[in-house]
Symmetry: C2
Subunit: 258 residues, 2 copies
DNA sequence: TAGTAAAAACTGGTATGGTAGATTTGTAAA
DNA sequence: TTTACAAATCTACCATACCAGTTTTTACTA
């Protein structure tokens, strides 16, 4: 089956080299395939199978799996199977909570720090979103949506925060791919409201607008869960990594290396 | 040699099995060694070297490296070396920003949702902190500090958020290990203030108290940077993963499945 | 036919050898 | 002494073989 996409985000590359490894490319490929639901939640596969499909050895596939497991895209069951994590409603709502808290803080910062150039840039992005809607370019629209939020973070000197938001967003993005009707006009209106508040340096209003903008997924998820129950995990299964009771220390074991 | 501990932070274990792999144990060991500065920032080492020291093959060490790289504990330079990431002031301040935004949101939630049992539990933790100070048990004190913040998150139904806070905290914890004088009495007083606000369900006051409590590291880091310049990265080196200008798709990199 | 146990066919985990690229070292020339 | 360049020695990456569990299939028994 010709499942694997060849496009993907630049999540995998090393900062030091413009020369991504095979493991990097496998990671990018699988990441994209999972995000776009080409590999649907709950589907099982094996290192060997993917390796064969991609024409590489098991080793880089295995390393890609490790990284995917760390961002909870897949769940590795030793000696058993590896499967694409189902969408956990709790995890999505948690991601939204985190994103809202962070973006609210970021947009407050932006109100106080940001340059007029940022506002111009944001308006440009929204304008391009209007055009994307006009020609029905859904992918472009979503990329521009990312760019909008990202620009706010970077424009207020919080570029590093975006890295984290982006990770959290991944779980939500799978939901987004499930939803065919995303109501782009409303998104554009909300973006415009955020820009207005930024221009007026109205901190509270900007925060409120951002929180409202990010809250829409709450209504989406319930509907989508109904439509695609097979993609969702059982309700109470939190599926998170438990860090244990107290994070106790381990004894000293490794000598520092020179 | 009898090398790898089987106890320790449960960061590494798989949910499905009580049987951590060698790679899990290597990860835990190295994670702890880096956190406690036994492996100081900037020190270089190799897969083979660590494998030899620990008496295992290179493979599980390599997988541990991958996971450590993902949380920015080490930096893998292909064909060159792997080194413990230096402490980046920008990264620490970023982590503090994220933590403050999240914990502020969490404590607001806690004011509205939390049970009286939580408040009792928090008071118990602070009481144990007092005892820890009395007998000068620094490690225990810090563990209890973690427990305090974690309990608030879990008590308000935001346990998953703690997972993320904990990751961010790691960068800050290395700084904490550098600091011999942590001013425990002030910490205890601030914890008490948070509890008071929680008991009164005073949302804004709780948030303010929490933000104030988390802001102390700002003054710490400048001093520590002076004292231990070799552990810190150059100022402008942000050292974060840059995802590129727009998250545009990358061209086809992997041959599609055969 | 139903139940059960052996065996075959998977799974991911680990060890090891080889490769390409980066760094260091050493040697020879200016 | 300094410089240039080649060889030796690192590095992490990849492929492969093997191992120990798990699951599925198969075949035999009641």
């Amino acid at each position: 089956m010709d499942i694997l996409s060849t496009k993907g985000e630049k999540l995998a590359e090393r900062p030091e080299t413009g020369d991504p490894t095979i493991a990097d490319r496998v990671f990018t490929t699988l990441h994209s395939a999972i995000l776009t639901l080409q590999m649907p939640p709950g589907s099982k596969f094996s290192e060997a199978e993917i390796a064969k499909q991609l024409g590489v050895s098991r080793q880089p596939v295995r390393e890609a799996f490790i990284r995917l497991a760390q961002i909870e895209f897949v769940r590795i069951q030793p000696k058993r199977a590896t499967e694409v994590c189902k969408i956990s409603e709790a995890a999505v709502l948690n991601a939204r909570f985190i994103r809202e808290a962070l973006e609210a803080a970021v947009v407050r910062d932006a109100c106080e720090n940001c340059s007029d150039e940022l506002i111009d840039q944001l308006e440009d992005i929204v304008e391009r979103q209007r055009k994307a809607v006009a020609v029905n370019e859904r992918e472009l629209f979503h990329d521009l949506d990312d760019a909008f939020h990202r620009s706010i973070a970077e424009g207020s000197g919080r570029g590093l925060v975006w890295t984290l938001i982006n990770e959290q967003k991944a779980q939500m993005d799978r939901v987004r791919y499930l939803s065919l009707a995303f109501n782009e006009p409303v998104v554009i209106r909300e973006h415009a409201a955020i820009i207005d508040a930024l221009r007026d340096r109205a901190t509270s209003r900007a925060e409120t607008a951002m929180r409202h903008h990010l809250s829409r997924i709450n209504s989406l998820i319930a509907v989508l869960r109904q439509q695609h129950p097979q993609y969702f995990a059982a309700t109470q299964a939190v599926q998170g990594t438990d860090a244990g009771p107290l994070n106790l220390r381990v004894p000293a074991l490794v000598k520092p290396a020179r």
